[in-house]
Amino acid sequence: MTELSVASLLFLSATLLAIGLFGILTRRNFILLLIAVEIGMNAAILNFVYFAGFSGTSHGLSGQAIAVVLVGLAATEVAVGLAIVLALNRQRGSINIGDATTLKL
């Protein structure tokens, strides 16, 4: 098995973060936006996992523990997001965030 370098892994997670941020900033559909949030969060989780692999044993374990906790956090966040989507859909029959323009100057 060939060893992966830190740089290539960092490039992967930075790309994931960029995809996530781009999605959060440009997606008009709330569900797709939630997926973008997940992608961005996973970039951070991935970082913790492989930095844990590169460092020594004691820190390594804490990195993996943090990754598991963050998976739980990401799930909680999406659950709240979906609750907001449901309420939005019930109220105006659309989950397009471009339609939400009540609060403007």
Partner: protein
Amino acid sequence: MFETDFIATFTPELLVLGAALLIFLLDVVGVRRLEAFGAVAVSGISLAFLAVVADLGFAPLAVLRTIPAGSVDLPLSASLTAVTSLGLVFQAIFLVSAFLVALASLSRPSGERGAAVFFGLVLMATLGMLLAAVANDLIFLLLSVEVTGIATYLLVGYTRKDARSLEAAMKFYIVGALSSTLSFFGASLLFGAYGGTGFLVLARQTAALGYPALALAGYALLIAGLGFKLTLVPFHAWAVDVYDGAPDDVSAFLAGGSKKIGIFAFFLVFVGPVLAAPALGRWCSLSRCSTLQLPATVELALGIIAILTMTVGNVLALMQPEMKRLLAYSSISQAGYMLIGVVVGTSAALTGTTLQVVAHVFMKAGAFLVVAAVVGLGVGPRVDDWKGLGRRRPYLMLAFALMLLSLAGVPLTVGFVSKFVLFSSAVQAEGWFVWLAVAGLLNSALSVFYYVRVLKSVYLDAPAPSAAADARLDRPIGVGRTAAIAIAVIAIVALGIDPQPILGGIQSATTHFLQIGA
């Protein structure tokens, strides 16, 4: 690890959590009265506040203290939590803001559905804030911030039949998710650079390794992520829509309470143990410390953000015709003042920022509670709709006027004291920090214009003919809300005339805070 002593350190947190669980339990067994939930919330918060004040060593309550005096302000350890006196001060501040909001919310419509959810979520958000104040690990800190975040997203959308409330919740959620993604990615880079996320590890490794590029990128992302929470320019745009659309009591909680979690996070990450670390070998004098070691680029970036934040907030407030949006912009500019303490980083500057946070709780939460009361009387959202209210509701408007004057920094109010301490600390620090004080003073002068515009509308303009005949304007605003507003006003004036009771405590807390890394 889990001895009773250890658990006893979390008495305030457990009281708040217990009250929240009790509220949800009461809801399940069929209690439907808003007053019952509110009473549990208010008493839980009050007990937690007493516990925190006792732990701070306030003499008459010292028998109640749950944390032995010797285990506060200890040198950094590897544990996830650490009790510092500055953390306790912030816990007290958070509890006061939650108390004011819970007390005022007792005056919400009595038959309101979901009252248990409202008070339960306020308590859960408060729990997150309390935990953040004892964090000794970056991940623990960010997770606590998330606990507050998730509770407040739901609170903003609490009146879910109201399109504005739901839209505000949606925007708040998107921004919050973006901010937590950036913060956690930043934390993961720091983990990669330094091999740990505890403040002890960060401090030791910074002393050993300095600031590798990976760590600087991590700090930059953390500034962005936490900047969203603290509504710093250019991460501020969401705040106006969210404060505007959220239910009024929730706006008071967001501006007065949960936003302050951001400033304490900045203290922990950018002023406290972490960046004081290079001084582990060569500790500096008490008057001028940690930020000497802060990388000049980070310091300069934060300074520019501080000046931008106060200026942009004030300029946009000048042109704002709606009351809640005006208060939201003024809240953004206040965040800029608070950041001065982080940049300057001396004990005096931290004292100034902490005082500013105390003042802001009373002024801003109080002002939003007055808005909630006035909107409840059927008055519209625009500043013009408030014309002539000064004669119609003299006491309520006197309270509002005092809050606005305090926000503007007029002497004999707590807002003057906090700005005085803050700006003079920047002047004492010399160098380019003086410009922070100059920018702050100019901005304070600028802010007077829009506060006076509101006061002119309230006191000098004649009311619209339709309002004069409107009997709704004479309705009482409710006991809870009256009490909350009265407490805020009394605090503003009393602390403005004599800040000594809290000033000494805050000064010693910030001095200890800067010595923790030593």
